[in-house]
């Protein structure tokens, strides 16, 4: 249901056709995920179904809990106990998880959250895909914190970046989000992902692994420790901004215009760049892969050398603010977005041609 063998037959090394949900599961299993607690919601359900089989097969525990609040908090418990934990959800469920995410960020508990995004506001406006919820996920809970957000653009990259999310979560002791839109969640592509990690040993700060000293995992303790936590978190974010930024540039070297897009919209944009180049429009693509930390400096460099930037998203502007901040007035930043369906290459091309020909860029 989730995957079919490619033409090379059954061997482990053969690429498999998988949708984004299953690819996310595969990346998690390869990264040594030990615990999943979740609540079903379209289009995340195939992740659940995949993990319900794949996780117990590797000795992990898969549980369905009563809601998303309990799910993320059970992951908080599993992480506190030294295990690699993950959950996944969609709009309304992600909203319920924000409290748990903020608490896990504050208590410095590593875990991975898969986010499959839809167009609706609350539950109004439907089930169709959109690249929404990014602003909420970046730090929608209380307090000054950020969550690393990884935005893959293919099923292969979904597996790779889910794996990377576990590494990042462990390295910085933070929840990490992998976000794909509802379209990618259900879209099938060939995936070939072999990476493995050595067997996981519970972190020495986690509870339940008898040592001499008592271990205390919490988001608060004493006033002094609380304040120290605030500064320690900020220092972590500074280091992440310095070291963990991921992005892709395509034909930006001599570009007069640059399209900024993430996830599936970056693939649409890439096609448009290729065909626009054939028609003599000097355009390139800049794809943020980490939405936090955002490739701010890199994009600022680009903004200094182009006539204008066109941000295109399958929503009404979730990373637009970040792009504007990065451009910092160096060039005009235009926006073209729609929810519910990826913008078609022809639509985007027309928009780009308008910009390229109307003189003001």
């Amino acid at each position: 249901m989730f995957e079919t063998n490619g033409t090379n037959g059954n061997s482990r090394n053969a690429p498999k056709l998988m949708n984004g949900c299953a690819a996310m599961g595969l990346g998690a299993i390869r990264a040594g995920c030990q615990y999943v607690a979740a609540y079903p919601i379209t289009p995340q359900t195939e992740y659940l179904e995949y993990m319900s089989q794949a996780l117990p097969a590797t000795g992990g525990v898969f549980q369905q809990l009563n809601d998303e609040i309990s799910s993320i908090m059970a992951c908080y418990g599993a992480a506190a106990a030294g295990a690699k934990a993950m959950t996944a959800s969609v709009g309304p469920g992600l909203t319920l998880m924000i409290d748990g995410l903020a608490n896990a960020a504050g208590a410095e508990l590593p875990m991975v959250l898969g986010a499959m995004t839809r167009a609706h506001v609350g539950v109004s406006a439907g089930l169709l895909p959109a690249q929404s919820d990014i602003r909420m996920l970046k730090g929608g809970g209380n307090g000054d914190y950020h969550l690393p957000i990884l935005a893959p653009a293919s099923c292969q990259e979904t597996a790779e970046l889910t794996f990377a999310a576990f590494v990042l979560a462990e390295k910085y002791r933070t929840p990490v989000v992998v976000v794909i839109d509802g379209f990618m969640a259900n879209m099938m592509e060939a995936v070939n992902f072999q990476k493995d990690v050595p067997a996981h040993e519970a972190w020495d700060w986690s509870v339940g692994h008898t040592r001499d000293a008592q271990v205390y995992v919490t988001s608060y303790y004493t006033p002094e420790a609380d304040t120290a936590t605030c500064y320690r978190l900020q220092e972590k974010y500074r280091v992440m901004r310095e070291r963990e930024v991921l992005y892709e540039e395509f034909m930006t070297d001599d570009a007069e215009f640059v399209i900024v897009a993430f996830g599936i919209m970056a693939r649409v944009a890439k096609q448009v760049v290729v065909s626009a180049r054939q028609q003599g429009i000097k355009v390139g693509l800049f794809r943020p892969i980490t939405i936090f930390p955002f490739p701010e400096n890199e994009l600022n460099q680009i903004a200094r050398g182009v006539k204008s930037i066109l941000v295109t998203e399958m929503n009404f502007g979730q990373i637009l603010i970040d792009v504007k901040l990065a451009a910092n007035g160096a060039c005009p930043v235009h926006f073209y977005g729609q929810p519910a369906m990826p913008i078609k290459p022809m639509q985007l091309f027309k928009k780009l041609r308008e910009l390229a020909t109307d003189g003001h860029g």
Partner: protein
């Protein structure tokens, strides 16, 4: 703050499980202190100090995380049962204990608690039931009985507006995944001693390998923040529990496995 800070070298003469030289942030005469002493003593008696993970909810009882010398996981308000689920699933050989107030467990955390019972999770739940949100100053909660004054309903529960008090023992007893349910009171010395025996039963049952939730609801005072239309001392507050509150909330063991308790000493899982 109403808190009387008592600094003591060793709180219980009987237990090394307590941290030395920690400030105790419970008010004088509050049953949270008694419950913490009982817990420390039992952990020590059973020799499970390094095999116990204490998960604290938010409320006055969260201070127990600073007192008990065992591994601690602090949680946000109402999420202790969910966190215990993750901890105990990943550490099935440990004794995982939730320490919550009545607000933490029966108001904001009720869904997580009941579903933990339904899933037959394997941990111990201790509720300090003072009939109010003590830490925030004594407001009415779902467990407030008609006789306890609160700062929001001065004379106690107004049935027309707030309905009837919720009895957690009634809720968990029918669920097969809850294998032990009891109510005790932390009032007189005799009652505290009785409570200890029940607490020990829950731990023994857990250590004997009987899977499921073991829940004890401890009626205790909030002598400082029971202050609607009258005020209390620790003694008069405890009298209110013994004479009136315990009429609303039935005392005793409501549920236990037929065989596992009593008889011989259960084996301790190492």
């Amino acid at each position: 703050m109403n808190y009387t800070q008592i600094q003591s070298k060793k709180v219980s003469p009987h237990s090394d499980v307590f941290h030395e030289q920690r400030h105790i942030s419970f008010c004088a005469g509050c049953g949270h202190g008694s419950l913490n002493i009982l817990l420390a003593e039992i952990i020590e008696e059973l020799g499970i100090q390094t095999k116990t993970v204490l998960v604290t909810g938010v409320g006055c009882g969260s201070a127990s995380g600073g007192l008990q010398r065992v591994d601690i996981v602090g949680t946000p308000h109402g999420r202790a049962s969910d966190v215990c689920t993750g901890v105990s699933r990943m550490l099935p050989e440990k004794t995982v204990v939730q320490y919550s107030g009545d607000g933490d467990s029966c108001a904001i955390g009720l869904a997580g608690l009941l579903h933990s019972c339904a899933r037959q999770e394997n941990f111990i739940i201790l509720i300090y039931n003072n009939n109010v949100y003590g830490m925030t100053g004594g407001q009415l909660g779902p467990t407030t009985s008609e006789v306890v004054p609160t700062t929001t309903f001065l004379g106690g529960r107004d049935k027309d507006v707030q309905g009837f008090p919720l009895d957690i023992i009634d809720l968990v007893t029918p669920l097969p995944g809850c294998v032990f349910a009891a109510r005790e009171r932390l009032t007189t010395g005799k009652n505290v001693f009785h409570a200890k025996k029940t607490l020990r039963k829950a731990f023994d049952l857990h250590l004997s390998g009987v899977r499921g939730i073991k829940l004890i609801d401890f009626l205790g005072n909030c002598n400082v923040n029971w202050k609607g239309d009258r005020t209390f001392t620790p003694i008069t507050a405890n009298e209110l529990i013994d004479n009136e509150v315990s009429r609303y909330f039935k005392l005793g063991v409501a549920k236990q496995p037929q065989t596992a308790i009593g008889g011989q000493q259960p084996a301790i899982i190492s």
